[in-house]
């Protein structure tokens, strides 16, 4: 088995490893770097559970060889929280009930991030298109779309609950 050295940046940290030259990127991330937030659903590009960001673009890590990311900048879900605090997108998933079993969540969040980094105010259609390569067997997608909309700042997302007559009276004019 041929061995090659690979160097790249993963979640902001420079990484250099010796690996089998035909190792898949997903296995490199999960087995060599223990980034198990990268999930393997289908292994064939259909489910998006293995989605990561490669130089800012969403890609399926099950369909790449690790040696193909030489010199690249990768982000996995582990790279989103800062100083122990979840990023806004992660928090929005929790707040909107967009996580059930959670298997699709890392990939879903990264597809959403790829969209929002380029287009901070997407329409619902653009959101649905951006996550069209990510399957979720639990949520029915609406809560996920809501979560993504919730942080695209100029859309009104969280529906205000109707005010009671008493609150209505006290409402500032």
């Amino acid at each position: 088995m041929a061995i090659r050295t690979i160097s790249c940046r993963v979640n902001g940290v420079p990484v250099q490893k010796e690996i089998d030259s035909d190792l898949r990127l997903i296995d490199f991330l999960r087995e060599n770097l223990q980034l198990t937030g990268v999930k393997e659903g289908c292994g064939e590009g259909e489910c998006g559970a293995c989605t990561i960001l490669l130089n800012g673009e969403a890609v399926n890590s099950c369909l790449m060889l690790a040696v193909q990311v030489e010199g690249a900048e990768l982000v996995t879900v582990e790279g989103l929280a800062e100083n122990g605090e979840l990023c806004r997108l992660q928090q929005a998933f929790i707040d909107n009930g967009a996580v059930q079993c959670g298997f699709c969540t890392p990939g879903m969040i990264l597809s959403a991030k790829a969209l929002l980094d380029k287009n901070p105010h997407p329409t619902e259609e653009e959101i649905r298109r951006a996550i069209s390569g990510n399957l979720c067997r639990c949520t029915g997608y609406q809560a996920i779309v809501d979560a993504i909309q919730a942080i695209s700042s100029n859309t009104l997302h969280v529906q205000q609950p109707p005010l009671s007559p008493a609150q209505e009276k006290d409402r500032p004019q």
Binding site: G45, E46, A58, S111, R129, S132, G133
Partner: protein, 277 residues
Amino acid sequence: MDVFSVSSLEEAVSLLNTKKNAAIVAGGTDLLVKKVRNKLSVDSLIDICGISMLKEISNEVDCIRIGALTTFATLERELDAHPFCAALRQAACEMGAPQIRNRATIGGNIVTGSPAGDGIIALLALDAKIELISESEKRTVPLYDFFTGPGKTVIRPDEILTALIIPNQSGKSCFYKVGKRNALAVAVLSEAIYAEIREGKFETIRITVGSAAPTPIRAFRTEKFLLANRFNDEAVHESIRLIRDEISPIDDVRATAAYRREVAGNILRVLLQQLEK
């Protein structure tokens, strides 16, 4: 398995010449699926993604040259500049999902040679040629002559597909695909048309159909009929009947042949309507 990463065309063709049982890997979206299914029997892979000159779209005097490593995401973004290539842009928009479009290359789509290849169907309507290079030779082949059977093409083991060449044209093109869902679905049937219409008559028309035969095909009989008649409702009606008759689809897991014939006519109607706009 050895994997060689190259950054120049010279390196690539020289490796292809010396490594006897090697395959090229570009975006990997077809090849890696084959590999996990244990259907890839090669000793080494040559990763060509580092050859940056194969990622360019350039305008030449009489044609557009699209590098083989251009991804579908790039085609979707950049083809607005060439309105007559609308069919290819539309095919790029509908292909796969974002993760696939970001990696999948147009060269890989062509060499895979699936009768359902979305890029292929659009490029055939645009009368594209492809450029193949080996260490000893460079040749240009009309895309139409490239396919010999499902997944079979005339590419030689020592050749690399470097570019597609689309002649500049003055007409309009469009593409339509029917699949089981929007994202990630292999086409049940797809069609593309390129046409030049003057004073209610077709001066040029090319109609291509995907998933209708062992290779991507042109609907020559339907084209011939449309060329010979005025572009009106009756001609549209007759052409729909003709295309249903002309194609030879099969029953498979995705659809029956009868359904495909039905859909072929319906798509033709939609595309001819789009041309009128």
